[in-house]
């Protein structure tokens, strides 16, 4: 792939068409949901009446009660979107206070719960989820990805400067013109170790710090890019740019290579108070129907092989290699992230 430019109008048009088609489908597909095992699970879940779902952010969870309720009426979905959910889940489990059914996080974010045997296996096959889309002996079901992107101000950016590779970001012409999130930038740098190699990835971080005049901040990037204070933003998430675009901001994005994707998963707690409703919700989130509902609600896509996502299609059809999170690399990723954070913040050479 030479350049994975979003060409926002085309992408949005494709997304709207695909979403219209998806919306025209019955809320509950005629496939797995009509099978006896799934119908039985739904009946048991309905008897439980409620399911408690925790995810990382309000925007990531707020759409679920309505969408799930449309597919499986009669089950009250209580959601919490917050970054502290891992600590709270562990502390509550330790105290024997079990109120959580389904946990949604990045693949590596859920590792602390896996390590403590707090996650139960689910019969993902029942929901049409293939084994390639599960992890940790069937305890985790893949729901969606976010891909690291390079965002630009559509009115003020020089499109000839948009990078094809992450190293292109270090071009002298981009100096003093880029901003990045202090949360996401070290994560991208750390993840690039698995495609670029350690030294090149860390030199990329050093280059951003020493040569690119990168403005790394926790302040919201969108007003900084919109105002022209900086015209480009490194290490954005593709989904986030699509959301901003849908809200009227003049932004677009390209996906430089190596393409790096985070993996998000749904999991059911071992001591879930509503185990059947939990299994149904987690399974639905990992199913094609759940993924389509997510895509329609908040523009997140599934980039894994076999994905039916309209948003992901251009990138998948380009044949570019995508580097996904791997649960076996959690410890290393954490180490590389810290190293990159220290370099980018100036605490380490």
């Amino acid at each position: 792939m030479s350049r994975h430019e979003s060409q926002p109008a085309i992408i949005l048009a494709a997304a709207v068409t695909a979403l219209s088609l998806l919306a025209a489908l019955p809320a509950r597909a005629q496939g797995w949901a009509e099978q006896p095992a799934a119908r039985e699970l739904y009946a048991k879940a309905k008897a439980e009446g409620e399911v408690v779902f925790w995810g990382t952010q309000a925007r990531e969870v707020d759409w679920i009660p309505q969408a799930f309720g449309k597919a499986f009426p009669g089950i009250n979905v209580k959601v919490v979107g917050d970054n502290n959910i891992t600590t709270t889940a562990i502390a509550e489990a330790r105290a024997g206070r079990n109120q959580l059914d389904v946990f949604w996080h990045s693949l590596t974010g859920v590792a602390a719960l896996l390590d403590r045997d707090l996650i139960a296996a689910n019969d993902w096959k029942m929901f049409g989820v293939t084994p390639e889309n599960t992890e940790a002996q069937g305890r985790l079901g893949f729901t969606n990805n976010v891909v690291y992107a390079f965002m630009y101000n559509e009115k003020k950016a020089d499109k000839a400067l948009l990078p094809k590779t992450w190293n292109d970001v270090l071009k002298p012409e981009l100096k003093d013109r880029m901003v990045a999130s202090e949360f996401l930038m070290p994560r991208l740098s750390g993840a690039l170790v698995f495609s670029m190699g350690h030294d090149e990835a860390m030199n990329f971080a050093r280059g951003l710090r020493d040569k690119a005049g990168l403005l790394m901040t926790r302040a919201p990037r969108e007003p900084i890019v919109q105002s022209g204070e900086r015209v480009y933003s490194v290490a954005e998430l593709d989904q986030q740019v699509r959301l901003w675009k849908s809200e009227g901001l003049d932004v677009g994005y390209v996906i430089p290579e190596p393409v790096t994707a985070s993996q998000f998963v749904a999991a059911v707690l071992t001591k879930a108070p509503h185990p059947n409703a939990g299994r149904l919700l987690a399974g639905w989130l990992a199913s094609d129907e759940g993924k389509a509902a997510r895509e329609q609600a908040i523009f997140t896509a599934d980039y894994r092989p076999g994905s039916k996502s309209a948003i992901a299609r251009p990138l998948l059809e380009s044949g570019v290699k995508i580097y996904f999170d791997d649960i076996r690399q959690v410890e290393q990723r954490n180490k590389y992230f810290k190293e990159a954070a220290d370099i980018l913040s100036g605490q380490m050479r």
Partner: protein, 577 residues
């Protein structure tokens, strides 16, 4: 200390003993649980275990990794020292000038100024940061565009918010209201007779200020300065938004890093290790404070003699003073207010004529339809009002124990209450969560657990009550006792009215802090105890700037008039000439 030495433990009546002992016990309870957790966590590891988990063990890694790192001495300490000293100096200058203008001069519009000054406390820090980036960004900041346009310059700057100077200015603008609230009552209640005597003896105004006013005000100024130092050390939002782009590394960034790892669990041990520095600094500051005020009789200005408060006529200084006040309010209130309201209707689309076509009140409609809004409002009012009330009363009692008694535990009470400010709120939240999950008394998951957690902040009221008591001569209480009044009656009828300005200021400050607090309620969140700050934080974290700004606007609209009325009702003579 003449005032305190006259009331020995033996002279306290039974109600006094009961009330003071209960206050000391409550204070110990509120502070010791998080303090113990802080010390415990600093020495528990490894990082992928929570401090209280079965797999965790005693380690020194957390402390060693921080304090044996050369970067700690080469970058972290110098950057932190410059940032904190600069911020505290500038904040003190700005807050003192504003408080003096409002409380001791004939500056016009004093009531309005007194309320507008508080604006930055009510607005989310991210909104303040965006406003200041719009204004002072080196490439497209409005001030820079104006200067470059006027002088025909190209390139960047000359003003750069992303620098040490920019960080100090922004932190000072944000911190000034805290210090203003604590300084204003000190200036308000000062008896001017000594200044008048100095002036009558022919001393120049500058000499009177340096040799009379400043020394008298010393405890009242030192207390807010010390609190500002710790708050500056602890707060991490502006250093991450404004300081990090300038590659400034300070303590709070390290805490943030430890609490926001790439994946998995926050490293509470690492954060606690950094916080140990705060405790050390707090202990040193407390020692300096006690040293500075060891001759308490020097600071007494309120005696049994009546005095009339007179205001200083600004005369030809009126215009410079108004310019300064206007400059502060423009930077700290008007511009952030504009950004807040604009964002609530337009999101982060920059202001322009073309953008006006995108006007939408959808954020307000969505917010008002949100089923969480009313419960959050109710919970917020319960927790903010009750915690501010409890801490104000407790702080006043602890201040009285320290200043007026010789009780054996008064030193411990003083030390403990002051150390409370050195404990980061995330550690408090974790401590309370773990404790009340382990001891199931039915508090976890309710709004009452927030009340218990919020009440640990005793330092503010203890300091202000202590400073206030130092200005009140004990002869007033002795006269009351000689007339047959018991301890409770004396406190209610003599001490409380005289301390009212200080305590009201502390209450307002704590109420606003309670209103803004999001770390503790986030850690302790459940379906039943959501508060407005958590709703605000979740909307912001969820990438919904319009609804975040809409909620913040509604909070400001509700709270500013409340503060205005509170100041007028509870401090009736506050701003009258």
């Amino acid at each position: 200390m003449a005032a305190s030495s006259q009331t020995a433990q033996g002279r306290l009546d039974l109600p006094a003993r009961v009330v003071l002992s209960l206050a000391a016990l409550a204070a110990a309870w509120l502070v010791l649980v998080p303090l113990a957790m802080l010390l415990f966590s600093a020495f528990r590891g490894p990082a992928d275990f929570l401090p209280f988990e079965d797999g965790a063990r005693w380690v020194t890694d957390n402390v060693a990794r921080l304090y044996l790192n050369p970067g700690f001495f080469q970058r972290l300490l110098p950057d932190t020292a410059i940032s904190v000293l600069g911020t505290v100096a500038l904040t003190t200058m700005m807050a003192f000038t504003l408080a003096w203008a409002v409380e001791r001069t004939d500056c016009p519009g004093r009531e309005l100024i007194g309320v507008c000054v508080l604006f930055p406390m009510l607005v989310p820090v991210n909104v303040l940061a965006v406003a200041w980036i719009y204004l002072m960004g080196p490439n497209a900041g409005w001030i820079n565009l104006a200067i470059r346009g006027a002088l025909g310059l190209g390139g960047q700057g000359p003003v750069n918010v992303f620098s040490m100077a920019g960080l100090i200015l922004c932190q000072s603008l944000a911190l000034t209201p805290y210090m203003f609230l604590l300084l204003a009552p000190v200036l308000r209640t000062m008896n001017p007779s000594l200044e008048e005597a100095s002036a009558a003896s022919g001393a120049a105004p500058g000499t009177t200020f340096r040799r009379i006013t400043l020394p008298i005000l010393m405890p009242g100024i030192l207390a807010p300065v010390i609190l500002a130092t710790i708050i500056t050390l602890e707060q991490f939002e502006l250093p991450l938004m404004i300081g990090l782009p300038a590659r400034l590394n300070i303590f709070s960034y390290r805490i943030y890093q430890e609490l926001n790892p790439a994946d998995g669990l926050p490293n509470y041990g690492g954060a606690a290790a950094v916080s140990l520095s705060f405790l050390g600094i707090a202990a040193i500051l407390l020692w300096l404070y006690n040293r500075a005020i060891r001759r308490a009789d020097r600071f007494v200005t309120m005696t049994g003699k009546a005095y009339a408060q007179r205001r200083f006529a600004l005369g030809r200084w009126r215009l410079p003073m108004l310019t300064f006040v206007a400059g502060y309010i423009a930077l700290a209130a008007v511009l952030p207010a504009f950004v807040l309201i604009w964002t609530s209707f337009f999101g982060y689309i920059p202001p322009s004529a073309a953008a006006l076509a995108r006007f939408s009140a959808k954020a307000y409609q969505q917010l008002l339809a949100d089923p969480r809004l009313l419960p959050a409002l109710k919970n917020t009012l319960i927790v903010a009002v009750a915690s501010a009330g409890i801490v104000t009363v407790l702080g006043a009692l602890l201040g009285w124990i320290v200043v007026r008694t010789r009780l054996w535990f008064r030193g411990a009470v003083d030390f403990l209450s002051f150390l409370s400010i050195g404990i980061p709120s995330v550690i408090v939240g974790l401590a309370i969560m773990v404790f009340y999950l382990t001891v199931p008394v039915g508090l976890y998951g309710t709004v009452w657990i927030l009340l218990v957690a919020y009440c640990y902040r005793l330092a503010t009221t203890t300091r202000t009550a202590r400073a206030g008591l130092l200005q009140i001569h004990q002869e007033l209480e002795e006269a009351s006792a000689a007339s047959g009044a018991g301890w409770l009656t004396t406190q209610r009828r003599i001490v409380l009215p005289l301390l009212a300005p200080s305590l009201t200021a502390a209450f307002v400050l704590l109420f606003i802090v309670g209103l803004r607090e999001f770390t503790i309620p986030l850690v302790l969140a459940s379906d039943d105890n959501i508060v407005l700050s958590v709703l605000l934080w979740r909307l912001y974290q969820g990438g919904d700037p319009a609804r975040t700004a809409a909620l913040a606007s509604l909070i400001v609209l509700a709270v500013l008039p409340a503060i205005f009325l509170l100041r007028r009702r509870l401090v009736p003579n506050a701003m009258k000439g």
